[in-house]
């Protein structure tokens, strides 16, 4: 199992990460990617600013990836989470999983995203188009509830 985690300000290329996890191998039957992007929220959002806890971000994501590996027969995992200022349309987060079978690839990618959302030490601040309020995004109850399905 290969697992790579990057916390970076730079943009990423979803397609290149798929190629990295699949090319030259003949055992991968399924590759799932999740790309999270910055929305402009009906043209009200000028940018998101992502703060993170250096060191802990990598470690916590590694713990979540290790959990996924014990639950599903994964061949590869790639996680990239950006920090800094991101404009609408820009990439924020990427999860790629590969496995022999589709169910493992789908479920593990969704599991990783659900856990990243609630456990990875990142915080979003909104810069609004009107220039007035700059507000920290509130955590969603939905995101906590999303974890319940994995805890049966």
């Amino acid at each position: 199992m290969s697992a790579r985690i990057s916390i970076q300000a730079e943009d990423f290329d979803t397609g290149a990460e798929v190629v990295a996890l699949t090319s030259g191998r003949k055992d991968v039957g399924a590759c799932v990617t999740f790309t999270g992007l910055c929305r402009d929220e009906g043209e009200t959002l000028a940018a998101l600013e992502l703060e993170h806890y250096p060191g802990m971000a990598e470690e916590e994501i590694a713990r979540v990836v290790a959990q996924a590996q014990t639950r599903w027969p994964l061949l590869g995992v790639r996680v990239i989470h950006r920090y800094g200022k991101i404009a609408p349309g820009g990439n924020i987060v990427l999860v790629v999983t590969t496995s022999s079978h589709r169910r493992a690839a789908f479920e593990s990618a969704e599991f990783l995203m659900d856990y990243l959302k609630t456990r990875a030490p990142f915080w979003k601040k909104e810069h609004r188009v009107d220039g007035l309020a700059r507000d920290w995004v509130s955590a969603k109850d939905d995101d906590d509830r999303a974890l319940e399905r994995w805890e049966k």
Binding site: Y53, M56, E60, M113, L116, T118, R119, P121, A139
Partner: protein
Amino acid sequence: MKAVYFAWVRERIGRTEEEISPPDSVTTVGDLIGWLTGRGEEYAYAFEKPAVIRAAIDKAHVKHDAPIAGAREIAFFPPMTGG
């Protein structure tokens, strides 16, 4: 030990990190939040709703009842909103 702050906890306190030396009576994360709250208005504002504050000891999540003995770095922050 070092205390580090993130997001609006950091903004309210007005600093990113500091060395702290709590008394021996402060044994848990929850105790430490209470002790920090007494250090001034900016701390009282940051920790006004202690239940929403998340903490990490040496870069791993902990609950408020976790002991702080031996901790080198304790972080306080709001619920995470990454991903």
